[in-house]
Symmetry: C2
Subunit: 217 residues, 2 copies
């Protein structure tokens, strides 16, 4: 299925291609937006250049001028998904007071992201698509996951420093637990009622917080 | 892709077909086993009768004699996955003392199931495959999930009755939280080290237990 091998600089492919003019960048955005929509329902492995070119009214070579290979395109869509996820969950929470308020804001934004992305999440699907396929895509999936876990751990650590969470809090462990809440909410929401899943997720956060809350807070 | 419509009695298709002799049943098992292997890596939507027939050295009509339609086959594979999951997680735990010991046994068996199924879990993949596709497959996925949540809630309730967990324990909520542990372990294990994910999962169980443990225990 793979038409070209990756050049190892996938994320910059658009920037270094001859198409990186203003008009070229706009065309690249249109292709990427459509590819993101396809990947949201069919996964990154559901992307192929031919049908995508048809969908945006271009030739296959026109698409290849913007993305050197199918894999470059998949990597760009994955990065776009990670950027959007961060813009919806973390970025607005950075305006909220650091510590517990920010941690709660991240979780709330995350739930809203799950509501928006109910039809399918490129990032989550990618985890199961590449769990047994070594290569640049798997490496990128792992990198995005690690970065997100580190962002969560940082938000937890700020709550420790604010004296709200126990000084012996293992921030990486709590980050794992926050991720587990979102996974369970996403899983339940896929099968039943979204708001009921949100309520379960919030209660679960409260139960975990009982362990982590500082005795002095 | 669908060659035949479902007859609404998918789960019994093998039993009522003319092939339901002893030899017929053995052939059906061989087809099902191979279909399960395909679905474990490609999902239930990755199943199609043609390649499956080739893989087991039969004609397409030979496969259709055992499974009336592609959907019947997919339902049978889904049921097989749920049965195997129960046989690995719940059934051995029923020999363990009811209450907390049994709850811990279920979780431990579940982790071992995740180790075994690292290449892909038919049940988990099916949740994302059918979250936005109404029909008999989605209904069966929901039914299996509800049944599993009910089994977990029952194991929790037995620990409440044994006086080990708080009398006001919401068994369905704790079942949701147990599911979330397994989802996070599976997610982390797909991306990094399995035993590290198990350790995080066990610690998380301990943190949740702090909320649920009876003050008298």
């Amino acid at each position: 299925m793979r038409s070209h091998e990756t050049n190892g600089r996938a994320i910059h492919a658009g920037m270094i291609s001859p198409a990186a003019t203003s008009k070229g960048a706009a065309t690249r955005d249109i292709i990427l937006e459509r590819a993101y929509m396809i990947a949201a329902s069919a996964g990154l492995e559901g992307l192929s250049i031919g049908p995508l070119a048809d969908a945006v009214g271009m030739s296959k070579s026109g698409v290849f001028a913007h993305f050197g290979s199918r894999e470059d395109l998949q990597l760009a869509v994955l990065d776009m998904a990670a950027t959007r996820f961060g813009e919806h969950t973390l970025v607005p929470a950075l305006r909220v007071q650091r510590g517990l308020p920010r941690l709660k804001a991240i979780l709330g934004n995350w739930f809203e992201w799950l509501r928006r992305d109910r039809g399918g999440c490129v990032l989550l699907t990618a985890v199961s698509e590449y769990d047994d396929r070594p290569g640049p895509l798997r490496e990128r999936v792992v990198a995005h996951h690690q970065r997100w876990q580190a962002e969560l751990a940082r938000a937890v650590q700020l709550a420790v420093e604010a004296g709200e969470l126990r000084p012996d809090t293992d921030a990486a462990q709590f980050a794992f637990e926050l991720n587990s809440i979102a996974l369970a909410v996403q899983h339940d929401a896929a099968l039943s009622d979204l708001d009921a899943a949100f309520a379960r997720g919030h209660r679960m956060f409260g139960h975990l917080l009982e362990h982590y809350l500082s005795r002095n807070a």
